[in-house]
Symmetry: D2
Subunit: 343 residues, 4 copies
């Protein structure tokens, strides 16, 4: 069987999690997230962001987190602003629109939003009441293109949003990878200060399912649990989510796993760079997009699985390689050797 | 008071309609569109399209027609394709999204959609089930930019939609103007043959309110009335809509009114063209978009009302002039004289 | 043709309205409710409720008013409380649910809600977050059964709602009839003080279309116009609504028309009572529900149209008779004569 | 710590599942339900219902399954019919209404629906298009009251639904318990024949999360996966669901676990019956509702957890006891001993 670099959710979960599931399995617990493991997980997250006043909720997946957060915040006539590659725009089957809200798309080179990108959208939506009212800015970190927000970028965006009455929501499906990137100067604590709401992704970083939604803006906290239940996201055995985040948050396992994934990707990136390979974008997280010849793609495909991402010209395409918390040295070395042999 | 070229809904309604309202006023009639005037109006429309198998429903306005038609047709995960200037995209406060459906936007020069515009959208929405499914093509005739579909253009689009399992829906808020344009070779009968569903706009063509939805595709006919009622669009006194379309459809009044509006606009257009004025797009309906200097805009504004549509450069902008069924010769002549004096 | 007592929307509109439509017809006006007639109508309404701080919006019909008001107020997980005969529960094709909100039904004898009816609903919805959160109380005056709220009843309900964090919304499709009932001690001004939001129905009281929504609670005022546009209820020619309410509010025409309808109904009621007829409920507005024999129903049906409302036993049923602003003495007298002859 | 009879989701999952999770953990698999374990689970289910033409989808929980199934089937103006204790009516925070659909409630003694219950609902919803159109009958087996459908009851309901153009949907959150009840004469195969769609609940029968939706009616199968993704229910690591149902379906583990839960409940029921205890309803599944004195409730509460379900009079209440796949003999015996001692 070929080793897969297709995504970061090909494996199950970190062994610590399995072990905790086994150890706690027959303990009777209250249902619907009222179990003691969930309580402990939430406490660990609040400790890490150094804010006991934030509210934490655990749900199963990213699309679920996105649709619950957005529909809980917006009034019917309000809409979302997202960078064009935003997951909610392209990969969630219209989940946000299904809750009644438009998502405005902004073209950006690197998948990140800056105040200068948003200003024209606000200006072109001033025909009250004939147009939707932009109210929430949706960003991802790391983005769908593998890029990350630096501290000053997030700060500028946060200030801009607050000045303009916009909520700032960070999709953190790969927040671990974003924060442990070698070029990142952001901390989880700072993310919590600068956003109204964000989530810590588990599914793509060592959990089998699970995202932890953190609500920092107190105006957005009341009654949030109703939205989770109404959208079918309140697990009877919430312990499954609690146990996972309890384990991931212990001793920074969450960040260690993400860092490992980043390091493995960077090894491949550097090896390819040394051989003169160009990249679609200059990423420092667990997603890389090298541009290689069709011949090389064919050779690599005999030994590895990955996505051909974007055709560049008749002779070459960008491929996408993703590493995970569990991508071992052996696979990375085999891949690099093959590159070095062929280039 | 300044004469307004701002839009085609500044006046009340055609005198024939008022007269009919007065004459029928105290006749007791069944409610909710079951009155005899609505029946007669529907018959006249079916006669005009030469198809007794189409279903006709009368509603108050365009946004209402658009949201009822689209939400009645699509399954929750299906979406609409529209040209970027489409009314549903920009001027209806997210009414379509509020019913749960995404609207995909396609950039086009002239506000019209062609198969070549749609093919890439279909190709980029093949990641089942992670993306919305394009299912309905929304077009306007005349378009929001004043342009129109020629017969062969609508035919090609219709064939393409049928081959690709897409419904074709024509927003006819200004269908009278589209069909009576001097360059149009389309007929109402042909529109009914080539679309699955369309509507005849009354509000912008001599009615005080009212759009007539015509459902040609028999698959889309069952139970349609439920959608009208559910969205709050079933008037208790449906006679108000019936009487208006009864009058408009008599002796082609509907088309005469639209033609009049077009002619008045063409007079202004030609006068400006003679003086060397350029236009944002080459339209032959009741909307024109001349590009003129800021100085001229200021002078015209002293005597007429109109929208400044789009800044072209520091010295000039395109303005939008709209004529209506009731735009008299006197106002047009005054406008032309002013142009001729100043240019 | 048989005279119809089926409903109060069988005729067109009051002649004053037609006259005003004719007189103003060719005046150019701003669109979308920004016309001077709408401004004047709104001012007249605010004067009548003696509250310049309320906001007034004009829409076409009752279902539209109900769905816009309710969906604009509630968060996704909140629901409405209504008496079982409530129009939104039975006669609007699930319009409220279509905006995402449950309507809880309370059985009551007379179609009215009292605090004692609501308390058990609140108590049985305490399982947070597994149940919807009751947040808005919907009442009608006059009710769907023709009954009305007395001042002390509305006061008690209002106090209860404010104490329990519930909004109070009055459907006033027949508010004129409710307030001019011979037993009513409520005033329009008092209705505005005691409710968060209500509307004055025009369609059933002399207008051809139109309901005037009055928002008294300042928390519910911001951005309301967006909801109207999004739901397809913002008429391009808002003048049609403005002119009607301008005329209806002049010199209390609105109340005179309602009072007339009530009086005509009471004449019939009293004539039947004199002959020993029982009624389904003891109403004092323009709806009466006499219980008569099947034979009498048959005889009456030869000369008049009305609904057979409810089967009482094998020999008799309750019928519903509704009078309108335009129900003349002649028809009433003919009906009474027939009754007197047959009973 | 007190042993809990509060519900059947207090523990984790069956050890076989944990073992399989451990064994497969590091195998790379395709995402989003395309893994080999999900394929195997679906095959096992189709084998058990002896219908390879049914479609099977795995989702996380019951509310999720209910809202996805119902919103995928109904047109906007159609509604659901449910018995009054139905889970979708009382315990899902308006999840169905949030997708735009009304749920009509029918009072029944035992939580089951029969044709005679549904006929009046159909008859009272004939005012087209002013009322919602009943289209889907929602039932649970076992019901929320612990009762079950016998074969002839389900057959009569199925025939009735097909004759009346209604879909029949069975919520099977506790289907294992229903089918293994000592009085049940239904089989899983027969359930699949008689319903259009149903699901097999895992969460309450040994899985940590998971319900298996089975679509038997071929008209309801196309595009179903889009609905799952759009509602946020498509797990990236679908393997978690696949592995669980793979294990549960092996060698009838699913039914063995349910039967065990039923047997434990019956032991308690019989012991109480012997001492003269009355029950709220005569159930033969893992939910029992004994009516006992307040004194006894207090004594039992010192040693066990359970819900006080319904006050009967000043001296006594019905309590709810639920047993699970993991309720051991020791706890049951302790409970019975206490009963025998006190009664």
């Amino acid at each position: 069987m070929k080793f897969s670099f297709k995504n970061d959710y090909s494996e199950g979960c970190h062994p610590n999690i399995l072990q905790a599931l086994v150890q706690t399995n027959l303990n009777q617990q209250a249902g619907y997230g009222e179990d003691e493991y969930s309580a402990q997980a939430k406490k660990l997250i609040k400790d890490k962001i150094k804010n006991q006043d934030s509210d934490v909720y655990l749900v199963s997946g990213g699309t679920q987190a996105n649709l619950i957060v957005i529909s809980s915040i917006l009034r019917p006539y309000q809409c979302v602003i997202s960078a064009a590659p935003g997951h909610i725009l392209n990969n969630e089957t219209g989940a946000i629109e299904a809750t009644g809200h438009k998502v405005l798309s902004i073209e950006t080179e690197d998948g990140k939003l800056r105040p200068a990108d948003i200003i024209p959208v606000l200006e072109s939506h001033s025909n009250v009441p004939h147009q939707v009212m932009p109210k929430l800015v949706y960003i991802s970190n790391s983005t769908e293109l593998g890029t990350i927000y630096l501290a000053h970028e997030l700060e500028e965006l946060s200030v801009f949003c607050r000045q303009n009455g916009l909520y700032l929501f960070m999709d953190g499906a790969r927040l671990g990878h974003g924060l442990t990137s070698e070029i990142s100067d952001l901390t989880l604590e700072r993310v919590a200060e600068l956003t109204d709401i964000f989530y810590l992704g588990g599914t793509k970083n060592g959990a089998v399912i699970g995202e932890a939604i953190v609500i920092n803006n107190k105006d957005l906290q009341p009654d949030f649990a109703f939205n989770i239940k109404q959208k079918g996201a309140l697990l009877a055995k919430g312990r499954l989510l609690g146990i996972q985040f309890m384990e991931l948050m212990k001793d920074d396992l969450y960040f260690d796993l993400a860092k490992h994934a980043n390091i493995q990707a960077m090894k491949i990136k550097n090896a390819m760079k040394e051989r003169g390979v160009q990249f679609l974008s200059d990423t420092y997280t667990n997603q890389i997009f090298p541009i290689i010849s069709n011949e090389l793609i064919e050779i690599l495909s005999e030994h590895f699985e990955f996505y051909v991402w974007k055709k560049i010209d008749e002779q070459s395409s960008a491929i996408r390689l993703i590493t995970s918390w569990n991508t071992g040295d052996e696979a990375v070395e085999r891949f690099i050797e093959l590159i070095q042999k062929e280039l």
